[in-house]
Symmetry: C2
Subunit: 444 residues, 2 copies
C-alpha cells in the first residue's frame, strides 16, 4: 500500500498509525501515503525523519542554525495524523476586515532534545512513537495573519463564564486506541494580549500544506503543540480543554511520577517553554583538530516572550564558563531564538565536554544536567546541553610533530576508534627515557 | 576452517587473530579451533564470550559472586593467543623439593569494567580486540604451588645487577603485526617477599588447560597479566621486560594522553590494582518492585595485599552512603576479594542511581565517576560503580493500588518501555481533581 521507503532516513515507520488510519477508511485510507508525498514535495531532502507517519522531522544539525530564519523546507514538522485535504475554493473568512499582523516567531516542540531523556533512562519513549527529537525541533519563521482577539470581538466578544478557547484542527489524533481531532486550548488571557494569531503566510509564501494550509494558529511563546494546524473550529469553554492532547499529553511530571503511579493531574500542562540552548557544531564524539580554540555554534531560546540575554560555554564540563560576546549573538526578538557562535578556548588534549547554557532576560537559567529535569513524559529537556568532543590540540608540540609525521608519510587520520599502527615512540626514544628517569618501582 | 559458532554468545570473533595464527602455520594452524573446543569442554555453558579467539570470557552477572571461591568453569579467562599444546610426560621439575604453598587468590584483569570506559568515550576499544569486559573479569580460586623465590635460591640465587624476573609463556602474542611469546616481568622484590607462586593446582584440580596447564605463575596482588600461563622460561634481567606486554600494553595513562600524543613512557606499568567494587544485582535498567529496600549484591577488592575494609552503597547517585554491615561481607583475606549483600533503603519511585564504593584497609577509596579515571589505554575502571534502576515502591499507596489493579485484571507487567493502555486515572477522578484544586493558570 505505501510502497518502498525512499532512500532518505526514516527512523520509525509508524506502522500502527498507518494501520489505524487505513482501518478508519474513507479519506483516511490514503492519509499515510499522501503525507509522505507531501514530505517529499515540501521538505528539504536532508531532513532527519524521526517518524514517517504521522510525519515528524527536523533539519540536520549543520542546517538548524545556518540561518536565523528557517527556510520553510527545513522548518521542523511535528504532525499527529495525516495532512488534511482542503477544498481550495472555500476560504475561511474575509481576513481583510482585520489588521494584518506580521511576526517573526520561534516555534519549539516540548520534545526538543528528547533523545537525551531517552538515552539517560528510556521511559516509554523507545516503543511508542514519541519521536526521539534531537536539537532541531525548534525553528523560526515570519508569519502573516490576524489577531484571534479581533476575530472574537468581531463575533460579539466572549460570554461569561468562558475563560479558554478550544482550537480544533482537521488533523486526526489517536490516543489509547480512540480516534478524534487534534484539539487543544489556550487561555483567554493569552488571546486578549494579542498573542494568538491566525496565520496563512509563512516566510512570504502561503502556508505549506504540511504546516497547516490554509490556516493555522500561532500562539506566541507557547509550545508548538498549541499552534493548531488546519484550524476549522474555535470554541469558548470554561476550563482548559479535556481533549487528550491538552489533558493527557504534553504534561511535565515530577521525577517520581512514573509508569505505575501516573495521574495526568500530577503533570503541569506545558504552555511556555523554559529557557534552553543547544550546540549545533561541533558534534558529539567528533575529533576536532585546532590550535587552542574550538569554533562552536548553536541556538538559545526562552518561551513566554522572554529572550536570551547571555549564552555561556564551558570546555570543562561546566566548571568554567565563557560568555558569548553580544555581537556573536543574532539580534533580540520578543518571540524568537538567538543563534550564536564562539571560539571556545581549549588547552586540553583528549576528551572534553563542551556545555552551553543560557540566561534569559528574567535571569532564568538551565538545570545543569538531564537527570535534574528528567520526567516520565519525556518532555522539556532544557538542561545545559553537553557534548563530548575529542580535542586534538596542535598548539602542543608533541601533537603537532606527530600530525606532521602523519602528513609526511601521507597517512590520513583514520576514525578515532580505528587502531593505528604508525609507531609513536621509537625503541631508542623508549630506552633514552629510562636512562633519564627513575625506574617504575622503588628500590630499597 | 573454524566451523559455525555454537549457539552461545561470542561478541567479537577475532578474525584477524585467527588469520595471523593460520598464516604462521605449523601447530598454530589449528590454534583457534583447539582454543574454542577447550572453551566448550572446560568452561561453563553460560560464560559471556567477549572474544572467541584469543578466548576472552567472564561469568554472567548472576554467577560472578554467587560463591566466594569461583568454580573453575566460571573463572574468567583472558588469553592472548592459543592454548599451548603440552607434552604430558615432560614434567617441568621435581616440585617435592620445595615447601608446598596453598593460597586463596583473587585475580583481576586490569580491563575489568572496561565497558564503562568504552561507553563513555570509546577510544580504540571498539575496533581492536580490546575485550569489552564488564564486572566479571575478576575471580577467586585456591591455588597450590611453590614459591618462585625458593626455586631461584635452589638454582644458586640471583646475580647482580639483576632486579627483575622475566616470565615466558608458551602463548603467542601479536602486537603491531609482530608475533612473539607472551612475556612480562615482575620485580625481584616481589619474588623475594614470597608473593610469586608457580602453581599447578586450581581449586583442588590440576590447572585446566585454558588456565595454563601444566604450570602457571600466580603473582599475588598484581593484575592477572603478570600471572603468566603455560610458563616455560624464567630469565633474570636488570630492567623491567622490554617485551610489548610489559612495555607497550597494560599502561595507565593520564587523561590527556591520547591517539596523537601517546608515548608508552607516559604510562604507568600497571602492577597492583587499586581498590574497586561492583554491584552484581540488581542490574542496570532493571525494574525492581520492592517495599522500601532493594536487595543489592556485589564484590569489592583491593590489590597489593590490601583488603576491603568497608563497602558503601548509595541509592541517590552518591549523595547519601550506607555501610554494608561487616557480617554481610565475606571474610577478609590478604589476597582476596570480599563479596557482600545489603538491603538498601529506597523511598523513591522511578529512576534511581545505585552506587557502590569500597574503602580498603589503607583507607584508599574509589574515584566517584568514570571520567575522573578515564584513560586512552582503557585500563583500570575503578571508579564507584553506578547502575540505573527503575524503582517501583509498593510501600507507596498509589503504586500498590495500581499494581493490585493490574493483578485483578490479570495483566502482567510489560517491559517498562512498552506502552501501557491500562487507564490510570478515570475521567471522574480527573474532574474531581480540578474541582478540588486551583486551575493551571492564574486569573487576574
Amino acid at each position: 500500500m505505501f510502497g518502498p521507503i525512499p532512500s532518505t532516513n526514516p527512523v520509525l515507520a509508524g506502522d500502527d498509525f498507518k494501520a489505524w488510519h487505513n482501518a478508519i477508511g474513507g479519506e483516511l485510507t490514503t492519509a499515510a501515503d499522501d503525507s509522505w508525498r507531501t514530505v517529499l514535495r515540501e521538505k528539504h531532502p536532508d531532513m532527519l525523519h524521526l517518524l514517517q507517519f504521522p510525519y515528524n522531522g527536523e533539519p540536520p544539525k549543520r542546517l538548524v542554525t545556518s540561518k536565523t530564519i528557517t527556510p520553510n523546507p527545513l522548518h521542523f514538522v511535528r504532525n499527529h495524523g495525516g495532512i488534511s485535504i482542503i477544498d481550495k475554493d472555500r476560504r475561511p473568512m474575509d481576513e481583510s476586515r482585520f489588521p494584518r499582523i506580521e511576526k517573526t516567531v520561534t516555534i519549539q516542540c516540548s520534545g526538543t532534545r528528547r533523545i537525551e531523556h531517552i538515552q539517560l533512562y528510556g521511559g516509554q519513549g523507545d516503543e511508542v512513537p514519541q519521536a526521539p527529537w534531537a536539537e532541531g525541533a525548534i525553528s523560526t519563521a515570519r508569519y502573516v495573519g490576524i489577531s484571534l482577539k479581533k476575530v472574537i470581538k468581531d463575533c460579539g466578544g466572549l460570554l461569561k463564564p468562558a475563560k479558554h478557547l478550544e482550537l480544533y484542527g482537521a488533523e486526526t489524533y489517536v490516543k489509547d486506541l480512540e480516534v478524534g481531532n487534534y484539539v487543544v486550548s489556550v487561555p483567554w488571557s493569552k488571546v486578549r494580549a494579542n498573542e494568538v494569531i491566525l496565520a496563512w503566510e509563512m516566510n512570504g509564501e502561503p502556508l505549506p500544506k504540511i504546516h497547516g494550509y490554509p490556516l493555522r494558529v500561532i500562539v506566541l511563546g507557547y509550545i508548538g503543540a498549541r499552534s493548531v494546524k488546519w484550524l476549522y473550529r474555535i470554541k469558548a469553554i470554561e476550563n482548559p480543554s479535556r481533549a487528550p492532547v491538552q489533558a493527557k499529553e504534553y504534561l511535565y511530571f515530577n521525577q517520581q511520577v512514573g509508569k505505575y503511579n501516573l495521574c495526568a493531574t500530577d503533570g503541569i500542562q506545558i504552555q511556555e517553554m523554559p529557557v534552553s540552548s543547544a550546540i549545533m557544531s561541533p558534534w558529539t564524539k567528533q575529533t576536532v583538530v585546532h590550535i587552542g580554540t574550538i569554533r562552536c555554534k548553536g541556538w538559545a531560546y526562552s518561551g513566554g516572550g522572554r529572550w536570551p540575554g547571555r549564552v555561556e560555554l564551558s570546555a570543562d564540563g561546566g566548571f568554567t564558563w565563557y560568555a558569548v560576546p553580544p555581537k556573536k549573538l543574532s539580534k533580540k526578538g520578543r518571540w524568537t531564538w538567538r543563534t550564536w557562535e564562539y571560539d571556545l578556548p581549549c588547552d586540553v588534549e583528549g576528551w572534553i565536554e563542551i556545555v552551553c547554557r543560557c540566561w534569559d532576560n528574567s535571569l532564568n537559567t538551565q538545570p545543569l544536567n538531564v537527570r535534574a529535569a528528567w520526567n516520565w513524559g519525556l518532555h522539556v529537556t532544557s538542561s545545559a546541553h553537553r557534548i563530548k568532543v575529542y580535542s586534538v590540540n596542535k598548539s602542543r608540540e608533541l601533537t603537532r610533530k606527530r600530525l606532521d609525521k602523519f602528513e609526511q608519510l601521507g597517512i590520513s587520520l583514520a576514525p578515532l576508534t580505528h587502531y593505528d599502527i604508525v609507531p609513536g615512540q621509537t625503541a631508542e626514544e623508549y630506552e633514552q627515557y629510562w636512562r633519564d628517569h627513575d625506574p617504575r618501582d622503588v628500590d630499597d
